[in-house]
């Protein structure tokens, strides 16, 4: 039972990461390979804010500021670099976006080493240790869990209830159809990219005391995020939730009953299994060609 709970907690944390990637994919049909670096930037900014200005008690203000900053950074990057992939608003060049975002990831990583050095920074704890029922839990994990749930709820409210959220759903369904309905697709692309990176940045800020802050701290969450996306199905938002929870549970069960040092492998095993049974993921549909 307690493995189940800790699995669910980890799963929810992974969801935040893959939600950013999957949302961007749904809108623009682009994988943002630099998402882990936005996570890393979020963690760095949060560390700076907490150490210099805010102090550990006001971490939640930091999360908002970080989300705001990464939103603008992401939107700026999209406007400068990713937008040219759309020739005539609809046709896309996937290869271009892949290489550019990978190069961006390299750039940000080395900038982080260049500016902050290859050191590991440890932010102060957000909260003292707590317990849920029989399960002792570090306060940082608990806060990350609560914060992630809040962000996910906010995101779903935004997507399902507001006019802009509905417009996003429409864009992800049919780009050229939405153009005729008078929605500026390119502008929505920019906002969607910003939202995706803001989700990653907020995740970095929330998880900073758990994962610690160093130039490669975005890699492991990103691996999980990509595994979740493939398991859940590309571009499917409910798929992310189910896959994230199942990966978290699979990992904690595997760590408990098989061998704790190979935690990273169980998720990949699950991915292989899903690919074998359902090639397009749990909730994915075979994409329409032409």
């Amino acid at each position: 039972m307690q493995f189940l709970i800790s699995g669910i907690i980890m799963g929810v944390l992974y969801c935040l990461m893959s939600l950013g990637v999957n949302f961007i994919y749904g809108i623009m049909k682009v994988i943002n390979w630099a998402i882990g670096e936005f996570f890393m930037i979020g963690a760095y900014v949060q560390y700076l804010l907490i150490v210099t200005v805010l102090g550990p008690r006001y971490w939640y203000i930091g999360v908002f500021i970080v989300a705001f900053c990464t939103f603008f950074l992401g939107a700026f990057v999209q406007k400068i670099l990713i937008k040219p992939m759309f020739v005539g608003m609809v046709e896309e060049k996937t290869e271009y976006a892949t290489i550019v975002t990978i190069a961006m990831a390299i750039l940000f990583r080395n900038l982080a080493i260049f500016i902050g050095g290859p050191y590991i920074y440890t932010p102060p704890d957000y909260a003292p240790p707590t317990r849920i029922g029989p399960l002792p839990l570090s306060g940082n994990n608990f806060i990350a869990f609560i914060g992630t749930i809040a962000i996910l709820a906010l995101f779903f409210y935004f997507l399902k209830r507001t006019w802009i959220g509905k417009a996003f759903q429409a864009v992800s369904q049919n780009r050229s159809g939405v153009l005729t309905a008078g929605i500026d697709v390119l502008k929505f692309d920019m906002i969607a990219f910003g939202i995706g990176t803001a989700l990653a940045g907020a995740g970095g800020a929330l998880l900073a005391p758990v994962i610690l802050v160093y130039p490669l701290c975005g890699v492991i969450p990103t691996v999980r995020g990509f595994e979740i996306i493939v398991i859940g199905g590309l571009g499917s938002i409910p798929g992310v939730l189910v896959a994230g929870l199942s990966i978290g549970i699979a990992e904690s069960l595997g760590a408990a009953f098989i061998n704790p040092s190979f935690v990273d492998i169980y998720g990949f095993g699950l991915l292989m299994l899903i690919l074998l049974i359902k090639p397009y993921g749990l909730f994915g549909k075979p994409e329409r060609s032409v």
């Binding site: 390979w33 550019v100 750039l107 080395n110 990509f226 595994e227 996306i229 990273d264 991915l271 690919l275």
Partner: protein, 308 residues
Amino acid sequence: MILPFYLADYWIYALTLTFYYVIMAVTWNLLGGYTGQFSLSHHTFAMIGSYTSVLLIIKTGIPLWMSMASSWIFTAFISLLLGILCLRMRGIYLALTTWAFAEIVKTYIRMDFEFTGGDRGLNAPLFFKTMNPIPYYYLFLAFAILTIIVIAIIMRSRIGYYLRTIRNDEVAAQAMGVNTVRWKVFAFMVASVFASVAGTLYGHFTGLISPVSGDFYEMSLIIIFVVIGGMRSQAGPVVGTISVRFLAEVLKKWPEIRMIILALVVILIMRFFNGGVMEFLRQGVQRIRQRKGRNPVSGLQKMEPRQR
């Protein structure tokens, strides 16, 4: 060919390393450039190859050539498995899965230190039983030339046209009767086996293998070489590898600045000038020919509206 007799040992070493990267870049160009399937675990297959070969020698004591050959077969098997699983869908699935695969293999090798030596790495037996770099230089040169020739033959054959069609329009390729999944898996396997060949040679050249060779840094280097040299050209990856490796040796003291510059160059090339050095050279040659008026056809082409 006679270069090694005029250079210091360090530069022969650097050149040998360059030939290793030439093999990797040329084979990745077959996959990522011509076929349009982004494998992000090319370096991992090199690492799997070197680890399998060294572990076989350490655990069972079979001769070196036999362990190298069996590690190539092992890599072929693994790439076949991965390819069959994720190449049934669009290319993006391969990129996602191989990226996760690369990180997982690296983490596994770091964690299972009793079996694989962990972060400390393993001592590999040397190929020529000597540390003198000159024989390795010729070995790597020979394998690099062999790789380039094999890839050139593949791209000139019927298979090469299949692969190009798959990249340009997969649906059209299917409609024309190309078994797209089979040829994608074929390209993936060829590239991975060549990566494994390069990896085993590299392991038995340096005498030490470690999880560092599975770092994403290596993959990004390969992508940088291919993009700067020019994707989808025979000579592009070779030119890119040699020039970028030279630049990297010059800027050796500032590794972060080096990578920042290279990443910026890649972004700029993709943004403004898709095609890299080879495309630049080709356009330059065309312009000189036009100016001399040697080629009357190009004058006619100038009259036509420019294709976008």
